[in-house]
C-alpha cells in the first residue's frame, strides 16, 4: 500500500517535470504522512542531514571541484592536445582523439556531464570542422563522456559502495579497479563504431576564415608542426593527475575522499603556478560553480535517502525482490531482466537516483542467484552510464547539444552507432564476471 503511494507519487511527479531530487523528496513526504500523519515528517531533516554529512560521500564534491579547476587551469585543453599528438594523424584520428581524451579525463573526473563539458567545448567544434556532421560529433562526445562514471574515480561507484553496504560489503577501491577493464572495452567499442562514421571531405569543411578563428576552438585541430615531445611535456602536469589520484588510492596511501582533495589542490597549484591561467579572482567563480554542481548531486543523495528510508521501514524492496525471484530462478534471465530494467530507468532518471532506488531491489536478487557483488556494481554502473546518453533524460546529451548548439532531437539522431557499441559492452560485462573481477583479483583488492 505504502509502496504504491511512494512509487506512484514519484512516477507522477517525475512525468510532470518535477526535478528528480524533489520528486523523490515529495513522494517520500506523502508516504510518511500516510504512514503516521504530519508528525512523522520530523524525521526528514535528520535522515537528510545524516546521509549527506558522510565523509565518504564528501569525495563527490571534491572530485567535481577538481574537474572544474582543471577546466579553468587549462589542463583539459592540454590533455586534448596530447591525445591529438598520440593518435590524431590517422584516418578518423580526431574521432579517436575524442575517445582517448575522454578516457584520460574520466580518470580524473568522476562524472559524465563534467567530462563532456570539459573537453566537448574544444572537440565538438573541431570534429565539425573536420567534416563530421554536428549530430555525430555531439553524440560521439556524449557517449565518450559516459566513461566518466565507469573509469575510476567514479561518483557512481562511490554511491554504489555506500548503498550496497546494507546487503554485501565491497570496498570503493575494489570497485574502482573493477571499472578499468569495462572502461577500456567501451573505449575500444566506440573506436570501432567511429570507423564506420560517414564524413565529408575535410578540405571543404575546414574553409577556415575569420568565423572559425575563435582561439580555444582551434586547439582541437592540433598544432601540426608541434612535436610529440612538446605536447607530452605540456600535458605532463595533467597526465600526472590520474597517477596521483589512482596511485594514492591503490597504494593505500589515501582514501578516495582524500585523493580527491589532493587532486583538486594539485590542479589548483598547476593552474596558478605552472600554466598561470587561474587568477586569484577566479577562485570565487570556481568554488561557486563547483558548489552548485555538487549540490545538484548531493541533494539527490539527501532526498533519495529519505525515500529509501520509507522503502526500508516498509520492507518494500524485499517484496519486489521476492516477486522478481518468483518469476524465474534462472540466473541468465534475471540478469537480462535487470539489464532491461536499468536501461529503461536510466533513460528517465540520473545514475545517482537510480542507484539509490534500485540497489535495494536488484542487488539482493542478483546476489541470491549467485552473481558476485563486484559484477553487480559494474553491471549497474555501466548500464546507467549508457543511460546518460539515452533520451529523454540523457544528461550527457543535453550538455553536448548545448555545446554544438543543435537541438536534443538532432543529437539523438546520431547516437545509434555509439549506443549499439555501448550495449555490446553492457551485455558482455553483465554476463562475463571475469571482466569485472579479473583485475581486482590480480592486484589483490
Amino acid at each position: 500500500m505504502i509502496g504504491v503511494v511512494l512509487f506512484g507519487a514519484f512516477l507522477v511527479l517525475l512525468m510532470l517535470g518535477v526535478p528528480v531530487a524533489f520528486a523523490l523528496g515529495v513522494s517520500a513526504v506523502c508516504s510518511l504522512v500516510v504512514m503516521g500523519g504530519l508528525g512523522e515528517l520530523s524525521l526528514v531533516p535528520s535522515v537528510f542531514v545524516s546521509s549527506v554529512s558522510s565523509e565518504t560521500l564528501l569525495a563527490i564534491p571534491f572530485f567535481i571541484l577538481a574537474g572544474v579547476i582543471m577546466e579553468y587551469a587549462g589542463i583539459s585543453r592540454r590533455l586534448v592536445d596530447f591525445a591529438h599528438a598520440c593518435v590524431g594523424q590517422r584516418k578518423h584520428g580526431l574521432a579517436i582523439v575524442v575517445i582517448v581524451a575522454a578516457f584520460f579525463f574520466s580518470a580524473i573526473s568522476g562524472s559524465g556531464p563534467a567530462t563532456v563539458a570539459a573537453i566537448g567545448s574544444i572537440l565538438i567544434p573541431a570534429l565539425i570542422r573536420h567534416g563530421y556532421s554536428a549530430r555525430h560529433a555531439s553524440s560521439l562526445m556524449a557517449t565518450a563522456g559516459s566513461m566518466g562514471i565507469i573509469v575510476p574515480p567514479s561518483i557512481a561507484f562511490i554511491i554504489f559502495a555506500v548503498v550496497v553496504s546494507d546487503f554485501s560489503g565491497v570496498s570503493i577501491v575494489r570497485l574502482f579497479v573493477a571499472g578499468v577493464v569495462p572502461g577500456i572495452m567501451l573505449a575500444v567499442a566506440l573506436v570501432i563504431a567511429c570507423l564506420f562514421l560517414p564524413r565529408k571531405a575535410p578540405a571543404m569543411a575546414t574553409s577556415g576564415g575569420p568565423g572559425a578563428a575563435q582561439a580555444p576552438a582551434r586547439t582541437g585541430d592540433g598544432p601540426p608542426k608541434e612535436s610529440f615531445a612538446r605536447a607530452v611535456g605540456k600535458a605532463l602536469p595533467g597526465l600526472l593527475l590520474p597517477v596521483i589520484i589512482l596511485g594514492g588510492i591503490y597504494g593505500g596511501i589515501v582514501t578516495p575522499t582524500e585523493s580527491a582533495v589532493v587532486a583538486a589542490t594539485y590542479a589548483l597549484l598547476v593552474g596558478v603556478l605552472f600554466y598561470r591561467e587561474i587568477k586569484p579572482a577566479q577562485l570565487y567563480r570556481i568554488f561557486t560553480t563547483a558548489a552548485a554542481q555538487s549540490a545538484v548531486v548531493m541533494l539527490i543523495v539527501g532526498a533519495a535517502s529519505v525515500f529509501t528510508y520509507v522503502v526500508t521501514v516498509n520492507d518494500i524492496a524485499a517484496g519486489v525482490s521476492d516477486a522478481l525471484l518468483g518469476l524465474t530462478g534462472n540466473k541468465y534471465l534475471i540478469i537480462l531482466l535487470a539489464v532491461i530494467l536499468l536501461l529503461v530507468v536510466g533513460a528517465f532518471i540520473d545514475a545517482v537516483s537510480a542507484l539509490y532506488l534500485f540497489i535495494p531491489i536488484i542487488a539482493p536478487v542478483l546476489l541470491e542467484v549467485g552473481v558476485d557483488v563486484t559484477t553487480i556494481g559494474v553491471l549497474m554502473v555501466v548500464n546507467l552510464a549508457l543511460g546518460l546518453v539515452t533520451p529523454p533524460v540523457g544528461v550527457n546529451l543535453f550538455v553536448a547539444a548545448g555545446i554544438a548548439r543543435i537541438s536534443l532531437v538532432e543529437v539523438v539522431k546520431g547516437i545509434r552507432p555509439f549506443f549499439v557499441a555501448g550495449l555490446v559492452v553492457v551485455l558482455l560485462v553483465s554476463y562475463v564476471p571475469a571482466l569485472s573481477n579479473w583485475l581486482p583479483d590480480l592486484l589483490g583488492f
Binding site: 517525475l14 512525468m15 510532470l16 517535470g17 518535477v18 526535478p19 528528480v20 531530487a21 524533489f22 520528486a23 523528496g25 515529495v26 513526504v29 515528517l41 520530523s42 526528514v44 531533516p45 535528520s46 537528510f48 542531514v49 549527506v52 554529512s53 558522510s54 565523509e55 564528501l58 564534491p61 571534491f62 571541484l65 596511501i253 589515501v254 575522499t257 582524500e258 582533495v261 589532493v262 583538486a264 589542490t265 570565487y284 568554488f287 561557486t288 563547483a290 558548489a291 552548485a292 554542481q293 555538487s294 549540490a295 545538484v296 548531493m298 541533494l299 539527490i300 539527501g302 532526498a303 528517465f348 532518471i349 540520473d350 533520451p391 529523454p392 533524460v393 544528461v395 548545448g402 536534443l408
Partner: protein, 174 residues
C-alpha cells in the same frame, strides 16, 4: 538590484564553506601523512560544513534551473496544460522545501535548547542545522520567482507566439 545582491550572498554562502571544507580536508591529509599528526577532529567540521554548501548550492541550482529532471512532457505542453504543469511543479518543490524549513527549524531549535555541540571541537550543532531552514527559505523564493517567470511565458504565449517560442527554447536549453 536586490536580486543581484542576494545572488552574491547565496554564492558566497556556498563558496566559502566549500573552500573551507577543501582547505581543512587538505591540511588534514598533509598533517596526517607528512607530519604524522592526525587531525581527526577536523572531519566533524568538514562533514557538517558540507550541509551549508549543499543547501546553498541547491539554492543556486534552483535559481539557475540546474536540477535534473524529466522535462520532455512539460517542454512539449502548450497553453493551459503547460501553465498548470508549471504551477504543479512549483508547488511540489515548495512542499519539500517547506518540510525542510519547518522541521529543520524545529530540529535546530531543539539542538540549541539542549546545547548540543559537535563531539570534539564543541561547535554548537544548530549552527550547521540552521542551513536547512535558511536554504529552504531562499530556495522557496527562487522557486516562486522561476515559477512566475515560467507561468508568464506561457500566458504570454497566445498573443505573441514567436517570442514565446524563443523563451521556451531558452528554458529547455537550461
Amino acid at each position: 538590484m536586490f536580486d543581484r545582491r542576494l545572488a552574491t550572498v547565496e554564492n558566497l554562502l556556498a563558496a566559502i564553506p566549500f573552500a573551507a571544507v577543501a582547505l581543512v580536508a587538505f591540511v588534514n591529509v598533509v598533517s596526517r601523512y607528512f607530519l604524522n599528526a592526525s587531525l581527526a577532529f577536523t572531519s566533524e567540521l568538514t562533514v557538517n560544513l558540507a550541509v551549508w554548501m549543499l543547501m546553498m548550492g541547491a539554492v543556486i541550482g534552483l535559481r539557475e534551473g540546474a536540477h535534473l529532471g524529466f522535462s520532455a512532457l512539460h517542454d512539449r505542453a502548450r497553453g493551459a496544460v503547460r501553465a498548470t504543469m508549471t504551477v504543479l511543479i512549483t508547488l511540489s518543490i515548495l512542499v519539500f522545501l517547506a518540510v525542510l524549513l519547518v522541521f529543520g527549524l524545529e530540529l535546530a531549535l531543539q539542538q540549541a535548547e539542549r546545547g548540543r555541540a559537535t563531539p570534539s571541537i564543541g561547535v554548537p550543532q544548530w549552527l550547521f542545522t540552521i542551513a536547512l531552514p535558511v536554504g529552504a527559505l531562499l530556495g522557496a523564493y527562487r522557486t516562486i520567482q522561476a515559477g512566475r517567470a515560467g507561468f508568464r511565458t506561457v500566458t504570454a504565449d497566445a498573443p505573441a507566439a514567436t517570442t514565446g517560442d524563443n523563451k521556451d527554447d531558452e528554458e529547455a536549453g537550461r
